[in-house]
């Protein structure tokens, strides 16, 4: 289903759950896996110094250092690497989101796996807010699906069976739906289609009348059915539901209720002003809070082919 997977890791324990998912997926689908580590962001002025992403220290990213970092990664993932031969290890210097996008494009990967920000991450560049930035930029610009794993409780790919697809009926959500549909058929799982009527977006108090809300709910139910359910053909193991509230809260609640092991949604490229809403978009909030992996799909370009699964 995925020929090439890129796993972007810092090599730190925070990435362990993501690593498990990445390796499991690669094994399950016979994918070519690349481990990728951006070891430092460009440092001072025109110098050769970089700021090490883990320690926050200035380092000289010369060949020796790069090799050292690659070696460290090999040690960290020694067991997994032994079980899965042919994994490539790449290291680079630069702004993490940029370098992840650059290599994803160069290698034409079908899926990017990222480690999500978990609580208590205080070291190095996490403090500088690069991770939130990283997620946002990668999820927005990647041509392929981006899977983010923040919680150790995350189940592994092979075990996915309960997939929540959360939509806002945007064009990007249509791509996310195609992805969810393919995956749920491939793993023979259950699909839970969900929409949340965003109450916070109503400016006018008139719109907030109970009747108004109920009309919205009814309309959204109709859309879930017309725009998605009708595309499922013979596939019957799905449910659809519409709640109201603040989308990310409701999505996380819904996923918990359905014991989802994967959430699929779009990133909403356009409605986030990175400065005014740092880490504020629905997807990003879901990633931080969900107890399962979250896949974001923004474009139709690189969706998995069901036939290969």
């Amino acid at each position: 289903m995925f020929n090439k997977i890129l796993f972007a890791t810092t090599g730190s324990p925070e990435c362990d759950s993501a690593a498990r998912v990445a390796f499991d997926m690669a094994r399950q689908y016979g994918s070519k896996l690349t481990l990728f580590h951006v070891l430092g962001i460009p440092g001072k002025g025109d110098s050769n110094l970089v700021i090490d992403t883990r320690t926050g220290e200035e380092v000289d990213a010369d060949a020796e250092y790069l090799e050292g970092v690659a070696e460290e990664l090999r040690t960290t993932y020694a067991n997994q690497l032994e079980a899965l031969p042919g994994v490539e290890i790449e290291v680079a210097v630069g702004v993490p989101s940029r370098e992840v996008l650059r290599i994803a494009r160069a290698k034409d990967v079908d899926m990017i796996v990222l480690c999500g920000p978990s609580e208590g991450q205080q070291s190095g560049f996490y403090k500088r807010g690069v991770v939130g930035d990283n997620l946002r930029k990668v999820a927005k610009a990647a041509r392929c699906p981006v899977l983010t794993v923040s919680r150790p409780s995350a189940s592994f790919w092979g075990g996915f069976s309960n997939i929540v697809f959360a939509t806002d009926f945007s064009k990007a959500s249509e791509s996310a739906f195609q992805f969810a549909k393919t995956v749920v058929k491939a793993v023979d799982g259950e699909l839970h289609m969900f929409h949340c009527v965003d109450l916070s977006r109503f400016q006018s108090p008139i719109a907030l009348t109970q009747d108004g809300i109920e009309a919205k709910l009814a309309e959204s139910r109709r859309r879930l059915h017309h725009e998605y359910a009708t595309q499922l053909g013979d596939f019957k193991r799905y449910t659809s539901e519409v709640w109201e509230g603040t989308p990310y809260v409701e999505i996380v609640k819904f996923a918990r209720e359905r014991q989802a092991d994967l959430i699929v949604m779009a990133h909403h490229a356009r409605d986030v002003d990175p400065d005014e809403r740092p880490f504020g978009s629905t997807l990003e909030q879901v990633i931080v809070r969900a107890s399962c992996p979250v896949v974001s799909v923004n474009r139709p370009d690189k969706l998995p082919q069901a036939a290969e699964a």
């Binding site: 460009p42 001072k44 002025g45 025109d46 110098s47 050769n48 110094l49 000289d60 010369d62 060949a63 020796e64 630069g94 702004v95 940029r98 996008l101 650059r102 494009r105 610009a141 806002d168 009926f169 945007s170 064009k171 990007a172 959500s173 009527v197 965003d198 977006r201 109503f202 919205k216 490229a269 356009r270 002003d273 400065d275 923004n298 474009r299």
Partner: protein
Amino acid sequence: MPEGIYCNKRPITTEEELKALLSDTRGTKYYEEMLSLEVDREKLWATIQKTCKSRTKTWLDVCARCGLCADSCFLYLVNDCKPEQVPSYKIQSTLGEIVRRKGDVDNAFMRHAMEVAWSQCTCCNRCAMYCPHGIDMGVMMGYTRGLLYSQGFVPWELKIGAGMHRVYRAQMDVTTEDWVETCEWMAEEQQDDWPGLEIPVDKEDADIMYTCNAREPKHYPEDLAEAAILFHIAGENWTVPSEGWEQTSLSMFAGDWEACKLQVENVYAAIDRLKPKRVIGTECGHAHRATVIEGPFWAGRPDGQPPAPYIHYVQWVAEALREGKLKIDPAKRIKQPVTYQDSCNYIRNWGLAETAREILSYLVEPGYLIEMTPNKEHNYCCGGGGGFNGIGKFRPQRNKALLTKRDQILATGAKLVIAPCHNCWDAIRDLEEEYHIHIDWSFLKPLLLKMVIVPEHLKPKDEEEGDEE
């Protein structure tokens, strides 16, 4: 030892040599070897006789050592007014001495001169405005750097920087393929949000040819995307050259004149090849100095001009705002205390102080612009100019030099510093990291993008397909 393996008089000419020098972490072996690098006295004197023009000789002679230039130099002020930091002292004790001794100087002298040339002067040319004879230490220090470079006495990072220009015609290892690929990538990445946006490569006879700083494709390609979006909004007919796109010159900071010439000729060749009506450079001060102000002389152009009119980014922005090619949403103007960092290289050395202010009049709500003191062409260097930012060996001196700008900014009370110069931007970022004064800093492009009114016909069509609530 006359010449070392790492530290020698030979310029870097191949990728292998470059990598070898880079592998010498922080130039440890390089500086060790420098301790015993021999000075080729005859060659030094011969070079001086050939290249030391009458202006420099006159300046050295007419300097009255009156010290009127002292207070003009921020490095003098920030270093407790040490006499060694008086501009005229800095030049008389280095270049002046070499000339007086007809090149008969030793290794220790040269190492000292290197320290003065790269850690006590940023070639900001401010002193020239205050000397009654118009003596310009920045220019003379630039010349001194050339002499030092030719003898191998140049900071490690700058030897590498000049080498990069020689090998890649760019200050970083960005090849033609990397560059063209980055242009395609950025255009592709923006197409959802900006239907029809292109980054046309090698289009002939365009109205604008755009050149940039290799850091952009290397680490911050969104800067290129932002430039493309703004040209797109403004409806410009523009292009970038596949070769000759890199406008900066670390070789200028290094004093490697030959590399300067090679670099600028590469850009001029692109102009000759694509025949644009004019050329616009990115938000970089030294790039402008290298390619527009000094470049024509390195390239031996008789009229002292680049092959086509060549303007700095602030000139294009001011024009686009003035002519309504870019329109600012008044509601989005900056409404917090903001100040402007005058880049020596295009404000003092190219006279764009008022042009920059014109831009600010569109971007900043009246009353929120607080000028630094002094400002415009009297403003001080950011503290990291002339290569100072990048030299590890002189980092402590550089950090101290940042204090001037820090205090200037603090005195304005501004929370945002607009700095349309890569080097100034870096210096301000570093001073924030070093001294934590809680400021923000920005180039013009991201600010413009936040405030510009996007014409209806350029907006993506599918926008409202989604949630209509």
